[in-house]
Each structure stands twice: as structure tokens, then as C-alpha cells.
Symmetry: C2
């Protein structure tokens, strides 16, 4: 154990903020995550920087907005020169270790161009957003295609689950009444039990891998951040027994939607809803099959976290490990007649976020709820502070949440921002939007949620009068709404023109950049007298630098 | 000679657009530059992306706006992962070679973090904005401090100009009537002849070095771009005989300024004008001493270019070398009661730009003037086309000017944009502006020049009714002006939210990013029938990827 805490940063994938009991779900009880909240701070207004895996994660791993890191879509490499949380922690002598998913693809072109061997230690880290992948050959392989052969496939085979595609045949399929394999890629099969015992499921496997890491880290001695990044409850939606039939129609919360939403709707929302995936999730039969499986996956995750936390208690790790829990974005699940997560309604862009710091400094905040506007990019600087890394305000765009954790202050963020690049989508095709224009930006002040849509009218929701976000005021002529939209455009312009690539000069360096006469930059002096009057020393006293 | 042309890219430093006879100066005759214009295209509306050396050059060398490359001030390293013109040309088998100034400082931190040795071939290039420095040990040393010992100092010593600080004592000083050395750091000495024969001056030296490079390149055989980057007519303002007394008060054009400019002026302009340098250059005696020297430096540059072009003719290089001439920004020279160049009036932000392509394709445009709005960042893609490099629209933000050169089209740029970071300045200190807010952005549509000033009112000039930019309409209540400002803010917002860091995915890669069922991403299919109806093939025909 070092004098610095460790950090266990747990990420769930596609977990809505409101599908946890501590966030108010009436039927889904998640006692272990709730207990984490009870010993930490639960953030009730945490927003991701893009409502889709890849860019949201790249923001999380860099502490920077999507407009800054530039990895705007899944599988779009984070540029090789982009600084990451891992880089900052390593500078402070700490490790940043990955157990699970990052959704990163390596910037092989960038590496080639800088002469970096992708198989070198630096190359491997760059290929994993700056993380050191845990047991690269045995753990999740950083180069595995999403549907390709993974270490988990090896694991399944080694435990007797023999197949040419074990993940698909065991983890992602169920058996029908005739014992036929039914794939969970088809939603009608969501309520079957996955064809794998729970203890060999992906979630259990990843939990075990985190334990393996923590055991190995004890020998190493350096403080660490472990990013335990679960693939679930992301689709495919199927869960092993007994979780597959814990929930049924009685536990499904009514969809958030109104008939009036469809009709004179914004072209982008209309095009999204007309896409196949939204059409599917708007159907009641789909919700009835998928939501119970989704709930089961979350319940299973909670139980595995319970197992992990108990193990950490037993190993004496809990007392010195800050635990963070978050999700990379939500899931519409039919709300607003939508599926997936590619827009900014609360269930898509707002995520659960819990931070539990075992140290006495955090006692004042224990069990509290923080309603401040926070962003996913705030985690990186918070972890940097915990692990003793230097603050990097010229690089990191998030805010350090430590004052909140220590009951010593708040952050006064006026706006949360999220961005989305839809160049790839059916929606772009349907609307004939060019690659370079297929973007939206959300800015939210805690009441007004404004979405700038390049080439289209904006979208505006008033969460005070319309907490369910059913009424788009983006084209309203009401004076209030016009004024709010103007204010939001001005705030966006201020944000968008901020220095966000000025990453090679620290505030101290910037402060030192005066054109000082002492340094031989002598602009605009007429004569010796003027020089001396201004500088306080004689021109003849200037020392030439001379030969090296 | 290869089948591709070479490119000689000449850059002057701090050369105003209107101090050349082909741009209309009544007394300063620059026949060699004029002749270049006569065999090429002269751009009458060329704008730099920042009115100061460092960031303007980093934009030139990357083809990207300042907001994108992030090197916002002199000496602020271009981040190690930022792609440059040199990188793109090397991919096409061409060389990008530096002879002269880049104002680059190496991103040593970035290199360390990626394991790049600054002394390696890649490290050296990264330290020079992607250029291969010509004769690194003998030419201008990439690591030399601005006032430090340079290769030119060595050159002076080797030619008998012995001193502990030869640049200062010979190139930058004159002799008074008593034979005393008088430094040109003091403006009162500007009209003395520099204490060095013209043929050993910095400008002549750099010209010779370009010839040395071209001779050596013939043996190499690869096509090349040579960036011949002169330090002059940048301060210190002093020039060798006979140029030191070619011009006098009779040749000084009246200053562009009005008494009304001072008074109820914009706080930023007021603070800038109250700074020492502007106070100095607003004085008539300063203009009377400095402008003749500045004109002499330009005349000397023109003569050296004449010498260079004649040599290239003689060596048979002219017929296969595209020649570009530009400047990194202008110089107020007392106009608008200002010195230096740190704002956006025409004499600061507009630069001369001439492109002469010897190939027959360019015959239609020869000797023409192009009034289109062009930007300094347009040169990089133009050179890339000339040298056969792949277009990189996901990286390069400038526009290829080849269609203009070949008389085959125009570019329809609606707005030219320039940015400025004044964190370092007296102005920021006087106004109490924080580092992160010390920025302005100019957007110009050919008539209206609008400057967004973070934390202050905007500035607006109407160049149609007020071509001298004497009347700031930034706070005018006139309906027209209010509407123009709103339009400019909207255009800036569109520009600022553009993807400008999405540099790891080409348009082809982006176009391929569909969530295709064929690739195993199967979101939102209810059953086999739906799958087949949508994809055209049976779900059972999906081939698992299987083991590697």
C-alpha cells in the first residue's frame, strides 16, 4: 500500500442513469451500487460529452471535449499525440491499467509517421488510449475486432464451452424449447437465458480479471488506477439465469413519449425516428422483451460489483481505493419513440456517476447527492488529484471534483456540453447531409437544453416546465425562447472559440511569455534614455548572449 | 529533373502587402517581385490566420487554422502529433526543406512522452514543423534561440567579421560619425548603414543558402519544396549600403489614421495603442527613421530575389519550379496609431501573395490578379497538389488554389478568418484579462470585417464605405450593423464548431462507417424475417468470424 490511494474506475456501457435504485428506479434494486453511493457522493446531473461509446470514452480518457480530442465516432482512432489520463498519471509514478473495453482503435498512421512501433510499450499504450492493458495476451486483446476472437472466447473454450464462435453460441445465445440455439442479435430472443452459467458470463469474467489485476498490483507496489470497463448492459441484450427471468412486464416503467412528439417534429428527430432502430424500439413487443433483459443485465452487474467490493474488503483494498462508477451514455429503450442513444434526451446523455472516497477527508460528503452540473470529463482531473498528478489546465477541460468529495466546495459550471457526429447514419443519408456538416451540439444550463443542429433549426427543451422533454421550443416565437436561444448561441460561441488545442504551454509558461527586454527582445525603443526609463537599466548593460 | 515540379516557397517576415510596387506602393519599386507576379497570379485579398509570426507560420506549415493546430503564440511548440505539409509531401516521395526561419520551438515534452529522440531524423523534423532543415549543422540551427548564436554568426566570423556577437555588431549595428557602433535595437539608429557589406548581410546569406540547397537537391533527384524563409524586413530595422539611404521622407506614404480613432475607442484598441510600442510608432520621428530602413530592406530583398531568379534561369531550374511569394503578416508602421502587427487592420492581416507556375497549364492565368478571398492556409494544399501528394480534406483546412492558377475555376470562400492570442501582452495586463480569455477572432467577408473580442464588445469595419477602417461600427445601433454582427456571429459559430480535430479518418473511411449488418453489428432486428427483409440475406447465413 502506498501513501496515495488507488482508483477503481468502473464503467458500465449504455446504462441509463434511471435504471438503478439509487437513481429512482421503482423495481430494479441495485443494493451494491446504492451502497457505494451511500459511502460516497451521487451526482444527479452528470452528462457525457457525446451520447455514443467511442467519443464519450475518448472524452473520459482524455478529460477533453470531443471537439478537442477529435475522435468523433466509434472506431475513429484517438490521434497519437493526444494526451491521456494515463500519460498524466504515469508522470506521477502511478499506473493506469485497463481491464475491459475502451472502444479504441489505434492510430496506426500517426504511429508510422512518428516512427512508433505499435508493438512497443509506448505503441501498445497509444493503442489503448494511454492505458496499460492488463495481461495483454491473456486479457482482452487490444487489437481484437469488436466481433472478433477475444480473450473471453479463449476463456470460454478453456472452460469447456467448445465452439467455433463461443461468444456467440454461449454468451450471446439462448436455447429454445427444442434446445436450438437462438441468437440474442434478434431481439425476440432477449428473454431467453444466455447459454452460459452466470459465473462464466462476460460480466463475471471481467470482474474476476479486475481481481487478478489488483492481486498482481499489490506486488508491483506503485499506486494505480484500474479502469474496469464492463461491456454490459450494452446490447446484445441477453443475460444468464437466474437474471433472465427476474423481471417481466410488471417491472417495465412506462415509456417517456407523447403522440404529439411525432408530427411536426424537427427534421433530425424525424429522420432518426424513421430509421429502422427507432422504429423497432418504439414497438411495445420489443420493449417487453428487451427491457427485462436489460434490467437483468444491470442486476447481474450489481451483484458482481457486490462480489468485487466484498473481495476488496477482505483483501484490505477498500480502505485505500477510491471507487468511481459511471456509464458512457444511456439507452432510449423506446422513450421518445427512439432506440439506441444518439441524441440528447436525459435517458441518453445523462449518466449515473458515483464517487466514493474512503479517506477521512471525504467524510463530510459521504452519502450525499450533488446536483451540480458535472461532466464525464471531470473524472480525469479528479483522479489526477487523487493520485498526485500535476494539474494540467492547458490540457484538461474537465473540473476537479475533489472539493465536492471533500465537502470543501462546489463547482460552478454554467453549461454542460455534449456533441455528436452523425456522418455515418441513416439519418444523414435520408437528409442528404454532407460528412462535414453532420453534427449537433447540446448545451444545457440545468433548465434549458439547447441543441445546435448544423444546417437545421435548433432544438430547445425547457426541463422546468417540460421535464420529460416532449415539447421542442426550437422554433417557438415566444420572446423568452428567442432570448434563451440567443444566449445559448452566445455561450456556445464562447465555448467553441476557447483555446482547446493550446496544449503545449502550461499557464506558467504562458505567464512567462512577455516580450522582455531582459531577454533581448527590444521592440520599439527610440533611444538609450527611453530604454533606461522603461527597463531600469542602461542599454549598454545589455549582455550579448555570445558564443555557445 | 523529375516529372513533378519543384516548389520554391519564399516567405518574407513582417512585409506589408502594400510595400511592393505590384501592390501599389508609389515609391518602392520591386521589379523582381513584380516580374514574378507578371508570370503568375497576384492575390489581392490574401489573409493570414494570425497577425503574428509564430501562429501564422504554424498555420502556413500545417494548412490549418490556429484553433486547430494550437500553437497560438511565438515559441509555443507545435504539438508533436500535428500533421504538417512536410509530412504530406514526404508521403508522396517529395522533400520539404527549410532554408531560414520557422519560428518553431520543439515540443520536447510531447516527444519525450512518445519516446521520440529529438536528435533523431524524426525528432529533428518535428522540431522544424515537419521540414527537413538544410545542412542542420551549418545552416540555421533548429535549436538556436532567437538572439542566440546562429549559423549566420559562424558565417560572419568565417568571413572576417570577428566579434563575440557578430550578428549584433555587424548585421544589426551601424557606425556613427565617430565610428562608434550604434545598435539598431534603438530606432533612432535605423537609418545608419548596417556595419556589414550587402553581400554578407543576412538576406544575401539566406539567398546563397537556397542556391546551395538547390544545387545539392539536383544530385538527390527527388522533387522538393524549399521553404526559403527570410528574416527581413522584420525588425531590427537596419539595412546595409546602398539601401540605407535609397529612401527618405519624400518616399514615406502618409499614415492611415484619424484623430477620431482615439477617444471613444474600443477598450482593446485603446489598450493596445496605450502600450509602449504603439506609442513609439505613432511618433512622426520614428516613422521618419524606420520607414526608409524598412523600404530599404524590402528593396534589398527584391534585388536578392532578382539574383536568385537569374541564377535559377541559368541553372535551368525556373522552368520546373513553382515559385510562391508571401509574408507571414504585415506591420502597422504607425498606421492607426499603432506599431507591430497584433490586430486585424489591412496592413497587419493582409499579405502579399504571388504564385507563379511555369507549366503550360498555368498560361491562362499568367499576369492576372485574383481578388478572391484567400488564406495563407491555401498554400499548403496547393503545394500538395503540385507535388502529387494525396489531398487530405480531413486534415487540411485551406483550399487548393490550383484551379485559379490554371485558369480553371475559382474558390468561393465566403469568409477569411484570423485569430489572435494576446495572453502575453501589456494589453492583457492593463485590462486584467485572464490567460484563457485573451483572444480575438476576425471574420471578413470581403466587405465587413468583424472582430469578436472575448469579454468585450465586437469591432466592425465596413471596408466599402470606410476602406481605411477608421470607424468602428461594433457598437452601432443601426439595423444594418446589428444584422451584420448577428450574421458574423452565426458564421463564426458554424466555423468554430466545425470538425477540425477529426484528423484520423479520411472521407473514405468516414463514408465506410455504416453500422452494417454484414460486419456483424446487428442492432434492432426483431426476428429472422425482419433481418432478411432488411439485409437481403438470411440470418442463418451470417458467417461467424471464428478463430483467428
Amino acid at each position: 500500500m502506498t501513501d496515495r490511494p488507488n482508483v477503481l474506475w468502473i464503467m458500465a456501457d449504455q446504462l441509463r442513469f434511471d435504471y438503478l435504485s439509487c437513481y429512482g428506479h421503482p423495481h430494479l434494486h441495485t443494493p451494491h451500487i446504492d451502497a457505494l453511493a451511500a459511502r460516497g457522493v451521487r451526482f444527479s446531473n452528470a452528462y457525457v460529452q457525446s451520447p455514443v461509446c467511442g467519443p464519450s470514452r475518448m472524452s473520459a480518457y482524455t478529460g477533453r471535449y470531443m471537439r478537442s480530442h477529435g475522435s468523433t465516432w466509434n472506431g475513429m482512432p484517438l490521434r497519437v499525440g493526444e494526451p491521456t489520463l494515463g500519460d498524466h498519471l504515469r508522470e506521477a509514478g502511478a499506473r493506469a491499467v485497463l481491464v475491459g473495453k475502451t472502444h479504441m482503435r489505434a492510430d496506426l498512421e500517426g504511429m508510422a509517421w512518428l516512427g512508433i512501433d505499435p508493438d512497443s510499450e509506448i505503441g501498445v499504450r497509444r493503442a489503448e488510449c494511454g492505458f496499460e492493458p492488463f495481461e495483454r495476451d491473456d486479457g482482452l486483446h487490444p487489437d481484437s475486432a469488436r466481433q472478433g476472437w477475444s480473450a473471453y472466447d479463449d476463456y470460454l473454450v478453456s472452460h469447456g464451452f467448445e465452439s467455433d464462435n463461443p461468444w456467440e453460441d454461449f454468451a450471446n445465445s439462448g436455447l429454445d424449447a427444442d434446445g436450438e440455439l437462438m441468437s440474442a442479435w434478434l431481439l425476440k430472443n432477449s428473454r431467453l437465458a444466455a447459454n452460459v452459467p452466470e459465473e462464466h458470463s462476460e460480466t463475471a469474467y471481467m470482474t474476476n480479471r479486475a481481481m487478478d489485476f489488483m492481486e498482481s498490483a499489490a506486488e508491483d507496489g506503485r499506486p494505480w488506477l484500474c479502469h474496469l470497463s464492463y461491456i454490459k448492459p450494452h446490447w446484445p441484450y441477453i443475460v444468464p439465469a437466474p437474471y433472465h427471468d427476474m423481471y417481466d412486464e410488471r417491472h417495465i416503467v412506462d415509456p417517456v413519449r407523447s403522440v404529439a412528439e411525432r408530427g411536426d417534429e424537427h427534421p433530425l428527430l424525424g429522420a432518426y425516428r424513421n430509421g429502422r432502430v427507432c422504429q423497432t424500439f418504439a414497438r411495445d413487443e420489443v420493449r417487453k422483451h428487451v427491457i427485462p433483459a436489460y434490467m437483468g443485465l444491470i442486476k447481474q452487474l450489481d451483484d458482481n460489483l457486490g462480489r468485487l467490493f466484498a473481495w476488496m474488503d477482505e483483501k484490505g483494498l477498500s480502505e485505500n481505493t477510491i471507487i468511481a462508477f459511471a456509464s458512457d451514455h444511456g439507452d432510449y429503450m423506446g422513450d421518445h419513440w427512439m432506440g439506441e442513444k444518439d441524441f440528447y434526451h436525459e435517458m441518453a446523455v445523462k449518466v449515473p456517476m458515483i464517487l466514493a472516497d474512503p479517506r477521512p477527508e471525504a467524510d463530510p460528503s459521504r452519502g450525499s447527492t450533488c446536483d451540480a452540473l458535472v461532466e464525464m470529463i471531470d473524472l480525469a482531473p479528479t483522479f489526477m488529484t487523487a493520485l498526485g498528478a500535476e494539474a494540467k489546465p492547458h490540457v484538461i477541460e474537465g473540473r476537479d471534483l475533489t472539493p465536492i468529495l471533500h465537502g470543501a466546495g462546489n463547482i460552478n459550471r454554467r453549461y454542460a456540453i455534449s456533441e455528436y457526429d452523425y456522418h455515418w447514419s441513416e439519418m444523414a443519408e435520408a437528409l442528404g447531409v454532407a460528412q462535414e456538416d453532420a453534427r449537433t451540439t447540446m448545451i444545457f444550463d440545468g433548465r434549458w437544453k439547447y441543441v445546435r443542429c448544423e444546417g437545421f433549426d435548433p432544438i430547445l427543451f425547457d426541463l422546468e416546465s417540460d421535464p420529460q422533454e416532449l415539447v421542442d421550443l426550437g422554433r417557438s416565437d415566444a420572446r423568452d425562447h428567442v432570448a434563451v436561444r440567443a444566449r445559448m448561441d452566445a455561450a456556445l460561441l464562447k465555448w467553441a472559440t476557447q483555446h482547446h488545442t493550446r496544449i503545449t504551454a502550461t499557464p506558467d509558461v504562458l505567464a512567462g511569455q512577455k516580450l522582455a527586454a531582459e531577454e533581448g527582445i527590444l521592440i520599439g525603443f527610440w533611444d538609450e534614455a527611453e530604454f533606461e526609463a522603461h527597463t531600469g537599466f542602461a542599454f549598454s548593460d545589455l549582455t550579448p548572449k555570445g558564443r555557445p
